[in-house]
Symmetry: C2
């Protein structure tokens, strides 16, 4: 690997000059710049980024921590950040936080040791006590995480409004017996989406019954269990707001096992609009969560602040309804069709064919 020294010798200039042409900036004669460029090309020169970082205390790369490297949620987020960073010729270093505070902190320390110029975090476990001092060390941007004092470096989605819209949509479709299944109730997303549900129900003058709300966890089995819980509680709902798509898939699966047809017997709305939402049958009606855009916005904000000192400002996204096939209008019928449905849900044996 050739070094700057060799380049400088070949080009008959000082190392400083080579450094200058590398960093584009400074005033260098066109002729010497050309000579240097040629020398670099001739040697196949590649700057050693460790040396650059060490000397400049800057690395032209930003670190990102996500809970997992797979999964339909984090993938687009990583892709969104990578995409805008690449266009800006900055690099991305990703570390997994595994959803645990210790691992998340470790990942962050790793990235800092790596001299990242900034941090984009998609974490759930870290609080202000950790994050605020961290931000003093290295500019830190948050996706989907509220920390007072870091508002301006956050990109978030309006989960409350999303929950409200989803529920409102169900109501507009004629439903009034609407159950809600939440994710881990310590997660802010879960809390906010539930809040939105309550708001919509209240606003419509519909009762909120704790029996109709089941606290589960954001995974397919969580949806299955929640559905079973609903049945066990003899909840006669005609629609359910699953606070994320995985839950919705679980509900659809369990319903199907129980001989309940979605959307004819039961309407289901999800949240997130994960890729798979279009693969299931019926295709899932859900609230679109603009993961890629949010992530790239966060990256843009970070870039502007870190490399151009343009002060960041809080950025909020709104989830938008995507109508597909899992919600059906409840058409009132003379005999009270909604009750018929309720009956069916109540009385159907669990997993009759299995």
């Amino acid at each position: 690997m050739p070094t700057i020294k060799e380049v400088s010798e070949l080009a008959r200039v000082s190392q400083a000059t080579v450094s200058r042409v590398m960093n584009g900036s400074d005033r260098v004669t066109e002729s010497t710049r050309k000579r240097v460029m040629e020398a670099m090309k001739a040697l196949g020169y590649r700057p050693n980024s460790a040396a650059q970082s060490l000397a400049s205390n800057r690395s032209n790369s930003i670190g990102m921590v996500v809970s997992q490297l797979d999964g339909p949620f984090y993938g687009p987020m990583m892709a969104g950040v990578e995409d805008t960073l690449r266009q800006a010729h900055k690099h991305l270093i990703i570390a997994a936080g595994h959803g645990e505070a210790a691992a998340e902190e470790e990942a962050i320390e790793f990235l800092i040791n790596r001299q990242v110029d900034g941090l984009i975090l998609l974490v759930e476990r870290l609080d202000a006590d950790y994050l605020l001092p961290l931000n003093e060390r290295v500019p830190t941007f948050l996706i989907n995480h509220h920390i007072k004092g870091l508002r301006n470096q956050s990109v978030w989605i309006d989960n409350l409004n999303g929950g409200y819209q989803a529920t409102r949509y169900l109501i507009e479709q004629g439903h009034s017996r609407i159950a809600c299944i939440t994710g881990q109730i310590w997660k802010q997303d879960a809390i906010d989406r539930l809040e939105g549900y309550k708001k919509a129900m209240n606003e419509a003058g519909l009762p909120i019954d704790d029996n109709w709300i089941v606290n589960s966890y954001f995974e397919v089995p969580g949806g299955i269990e929640a559905f079973d819980t609903l049945q066990a509680r003899r909840v006669a709902c005609t629609a359910v707001f699953a606070t994320n798509d995985e839950l919705a898939f679980g509900v659809m699966e369990a319903a199907s096992e129980a001989g309940i047809v979605v959307p004819d017997d039961l309407s289901v709305i999800g949240f997130d609009d994960v890729l798979t939402a279009t693969y299931v049958k019926p295709k899932l009606t859900t609230m679109h969560f603009p993961m890629f855009d949010m992530a790239s916005s966060a990256a843009r904000m970070a870039l502007q602040w870190i490399y151009q000192k343009r002060p960041p400002a809080e950025l909020a996204f709104q989830p938008t309804l995507v109508e597909r096939q899992s919600v059906k209008p409840l058409t009132p019928s003379p005999s009270g069709r909604s009750d018929a449905l309720a009956e069916q849900l109540l009385l159907s044996p669990k997993h009759p064919e299995k």
Copy 2:
């Protein structure tokens, strides 16, 4: 950020000694080691990895390039590598290659500049002319990519046998009219899986008709188009081997639109066993591709070679059949049920309800 100097002063030793305790190895008195450790803790010392890399020409991190950061295929691969690396206290730096030769090379150069100690590549565009010299610069390991001369640093899956098994299974279930849908035919995976199909058909004495093979691309729309092509060609098949799950999803979707019921009217088998395969209805019968395991094996192999000089050896995985719900035995009936099915497939109008 405290430096090694401050630690050495606090501990009243030389920097060299601090370095020694950091790197575990050398002979250091237990007492001084303790003193140093305490000093490090007291100061909250964190080694600067850029400096370490620069001085040692080693970074304790390995680089990985994948085509995309999202998607059901690359996610588990990244997770597998990250998992075993983390356990070995090595770090992972991921870069996206976007499936283009130029970007893949750029990603690799980036990682090398980053002083990665080794490379794990999940690429499709790079050939031996590039890869072999690369391996001289930094140990390079390949996932799912055959390069003569790099065999021993490769982990791959037996796609041919997978295609064979999948087709064979269909045949065992009584099917004989079996279509095959391939991915981009320049991809080795596509070629091999098709080869497996042909082998099984031949072995069973079944005819191979080019009309029954449609070259498509590994995405859901690819499956839809392929299904339409099959119909346009009036191919009267009772089963289709889709050479990856996305294709299978597309087929299922198109079939459903056409009023054809999977698996009653048409059996479908996929390949990869992507997470979503369990979400669709009916759940997809497919060949399991052990992505996570393959990736972690590749990582293990890389670690052993790079840090312990244990010579690597080619590692092959076998895909395994996962029976779910999308394949149904073809029970011969007096009136020739398979013909009835064929008729239905032939005659059904395209997307009748849409």
